[in-house]
C-alpha cells in the first residue's frame, strides 16, 4: 500500500448532556485534554488538528470550526474542518487517517464537538434547513419526516414490525446504563417503546435518540510514533465513505446502498471478505432504532431485511457472538451529532484495548467497525479498527 500505517493512541470525551453549562470551546477542551492525557502527550507533540462539528446553525456561530480551535488545541496549527452531517464523526477519523497516512503529519488530534441546546426553541428549526427550499420546505417539513418515511419503507419492504425494531432501543438503552457519559440510558421494555408517544408514525418517542451537548477527541499517530506513545496502539485497518444522490425521493429507502459502498471500500482495504466472521464488534449509527438494523444490512452483517434476527436472537448483545453498539450508542448514551459518531470510534478503541470497564465485551475482541450516517439519508462513513 502506498501509505503509512496509522493508529489511534488516545481518546477522551465529556459527559453527554441535554443541556450543558459549558460552551463549545469548554466542552472541546475537556475532551481534547483527556485524550492527550490518556496517552501522556502535550500540544507540542501534535502536528495538526481535525475538527468535526455539524451545522453552524446549532451554535449560531458562523465560523464554528475557527471558534472552536482554542478549546481543541488547534491554534497556530494546520487545522481542517470537514462536514458531512451526521456522518461527520467518523469522517473526521478518516481525515485524520489520511493526514498521517500521507506522511505529511506524524500526529493529529481529531476533535468533534456539538452543542445543540443553544438553538431555540428546538434544534429542529436548524435541522429543517436540510430539506429542499423550493419543493419540500413549503410543505411544512420537519426532520422526523425523513426518518418516519424511511422506517416505514423498510418495514413495508421486508415485513418488519415495530416490535422487531423496538428491541434495538431496549438493547442500546440498557447498554448505555454502563456508560458513565450517558444521559438517556434506562431499563425499558419493548412495550414501553411501543406505548411511547407517537411522534411521526412509525416513529415513537423511544425510537428516537435525544439532542445532546458533548465532545469527543482522539489522538492518531504514524506507526513509528504510535509504538513509542503506547504499547497498545489500535490500528486503522480500513476506511470508506460514500454519498448518494440528494434526489432522495428517487431512491428506494428500504436499503442504504451508499453504506454498502462505503463498507466495501473499507473491507477491501482491510482485507475483509466476510464481515460477519472477521469483525468482532460493531458500532453502527443508531440515531433511531431502525437505523441500526438498516446499517447492519448495508454493512453486510445480515442479508436485506434480516438484521432483526441478530437482535432478537441475542447475537447482538454485549455477550453475544457479534456485540452491536456495546457503548449504548446514540440511543443509550446521547446524540451530540459529530461527537456521537466519534464516540463510536472511541468505543471501539477502548473495547479493543480492554479498557471499556463495565461495557467490556468478553473474548478479547481484535477487530471492530464504527459507522456514521447523515445528511438527507445519503452519507455512509466507515472505519475498521484492529489490534
Amino acid at each position: 500500500m502506498p501509505f503509512r500505517r496509522v493508529a489511534v493512541v488516545g481518546a477522551g470525551m465529556t459527559r453527554f448532556m441535554r443541556r450543558a453549562l459549558e460552551t463549545p470551546k469548554e466542552l472541546a477542551f475537556y475532551a481534547t485534554r483527556m485524550a492527550l492525557d490518556s496517552c501522556e502527550l502535550t500540544l507540542k507533540d501534535i502536528d495538526g488538528v481535525i475538527l468535526g462539528s455539524a451545522p453552524d446553525a446549532f451554535d449560531g456561530v458562523h465560523r464554528k470550526g475557527e471558534y472552536l480551535i482554542d478549546g481543541a488545541g488547534a491554534f497556530r496549527k494546520p487545522v481542517m474542518r470537514g462536514y458531512v452531517g451526521g456522518g461527520t464523526g467518523v469522517w473526521a477519523v478518516i481525515q485524520g487517517w489520511y493526514h498521517v497516512a500521507s506522511g505529511l503529519f506524524d500526529t493529529v488530534l481529531v476533535v468533534c464537538e456539538e452543542k445543540m441546546s443553544s438553538c431555540y426553541p428546538h434544534p429542529q428549526g436548524a435541522f429543517n434547513a436540510i430539506f429542499d427550499h423550493t419543493l419540500e420546505r413549503p410543505l411544512g417539513t420537519n426532520l422526523l419526516w425523513i426518518f418516519a418515511l424511511e422506517m416505514h419503507r423498510y418495514m413495508a419492504t421486508y415485513g418488519i414490525t415495530e416490535r422487531d425494531i423496538a428491541l434495538v432501543s431496549v438493547k442500546n438503552k440498557r447498554n448505555g446504563l454502563d456508560h458513565p457519559c450517558s444521559h438517556v440510558a434506562g431499563n425499558i421494555t419493548v412495550d414501553d417503546v411501543l406505548q411511547s408517544e407517537v411522534m411521526a408514525w412509525p416513529v415513537k418517542r423511544l425510537d428516537v435518540s435525544p439532542t445532546s451537548d458533548g465532545a469527543v477527541a482522539l489522538v492518531m499517530a504514524c506507526e513509528e510514533k504510535a509504538r513509542r506513545i503506547t504499547h497498545k496502539p489500535v490500528w486503522v485497518e480500513g476506511i470508506g465513505w460514500c454519498l448518494d444522490t440528494s434526489y432522495w425521493t428517487n431512491r428506494d429507502l428500504a436499503y442504504p446502498v451508499y453504506v454498502e459502498k462505503a463498507a466495501r471500500m473499507a473491507y477491501k482495504m482491510a482485507g475483509i471478505v466476510d464481515p460477519r466472521k472477521q469483525i468482532d464488534i460493531v458500532e453502527p449509527y443508531d440515531p433511531f432504532d431502525y437505523k441500526e438494523l438498516h446499517h447492519l444490512e448495508g454493512l453486510g452483517f445480515a442479508r436485506r431485511g434480516e438484521a432483526p434476527d441478530l437482535i432478537a436472537s441475542g447475537v447482538a448483545n454485549r455477550d453475544g457472538d457479534l456485540p452491536v453498539t456495546p457503548s449504548g450508542g446514540l440511543l443509550g448514551v446521547g446524540n451530540p451529532i459529530a461527537a456521537a459518531g466519534l464516540m463510536k470510534v472511541a468505543e471501539i478503541f477502548w473495547q479493543l484495548r480492554g479498557e471499556a470497564g463495565k461495557r467490556q465485551v468478553p473474548g478479547k475482541p481484535r477487530r471492530g467497525l464504527a459507522q456514521a450516517w447523515g445528511d438527507l439519508m445519503q452519507v455512509g462513513t466507515v472505519v475498521v479498527l484492529g489490534i
Binding site: M13, R15, T134, C181, M199, V203
Partner: protein, 170 residues
C-alpha cells in the same frame, strides 16, 4: 501541575431545562435577522411554471432511459444534459408515508398530517416526489395506495409545490 484526570472521570455540567428561563444560569439571546429568497433555477423554474398550468413535468434521459422528477438539467447517472421534457400524470403510488403528530419546532399537532413519497405515473419506477396526502386516516394510509393530485383552482396557483393541495386516494 498540569490538569490530570483518569479516563474514568468524565467532565461536563448538565443543566436542567428550567435553569436558563428561571435565571439560575446567565445567558444571552439573539434572533438572527437573516431572510432568504431563492430563485427556482432553470429546471425547477420550468417545473413550477408547469404546476401553475396544472401539469407535472419530468425530464427524460435518452442515455439511461430514465424519466425523473423533480426535473434537473443534468442526469446524475450519465452526467449529460437533460433536455427532453415529458408531461407526467398527476396520479401515482405511495412509496412510503408517515402519520405525523409533530410540528417543526417539536410542538404537537392535534390532527396528524401525512407526508408521503409518491411515485408518479409516467416517471421511471420508484421515481417520486415528497408531498402530503389528504382525505385519508391513520387507518387507511399504506404503502402502495393509489393517489391523484388535488389541484388548487387555476386562479389561485402561484407556481409553487403547494399548487397541489395534496394527493388523495383514487
Amino acid at each position: 501541575m498540569p490538569l490530570r484526570w483518569t479516563v474514568n472521570e468524565f467532565r461536563g455540567t448538565p443543566l436542567r431545562e428550567s435553569d436558563i428561563p428561571e435565571g439560575r444560569v446567565l445567558s444571552v439571546r439573539w434572533d438572527p435577522n437573516a431572510r432568504y429568497a431563492w430563485d427556482a433555477g432553470i429546471a425547477i423554474g420550468r417545473f413550477l411554471q408547469g404546476l401553475k398550468e396544472g401539469r407535472i413535468l419530468g425530464v427524460h434521459c435518452p442515455s439511461c432511459r430514465r424519466t425523473v422528477v423533480p426535473p434537473r438539467i443534468v442526469c446524475e447517472n450519465c452526467f449529460r444534459p437533460l433536455t427532453q421534457w415529458v408531461p407526467l400524470q398527476d396520479t401515482g403510488t405511495v412509496q412510503t408515508v408517515s402519520v405525523c403528530y409533530v410540528n417543526w419546532d417539536a410542538s404537537r399537532r392535534r390532527e396528524p398530517e401525512f407526508p408521503a413519497v409518491i411515485a408518479l405515473d409516467g416517471a421511471s419506477p420508484g421515481c417520486g416526489i415528497l408531498h402530503i396526502l389528504g382525505e385519508v386516516t391513520p387507518q387507511t394510509v399504506r404503502v402502495g395506495l393509489r393517489v391523484r393530485a388535488l389541484w388548487k383552482p387555476p386562479q389561485e396557483r402561484t407556481g409553487a409545490i403547494t399548487d397541489i393541495c395534496y394527493f388523495r386516494p383514487l
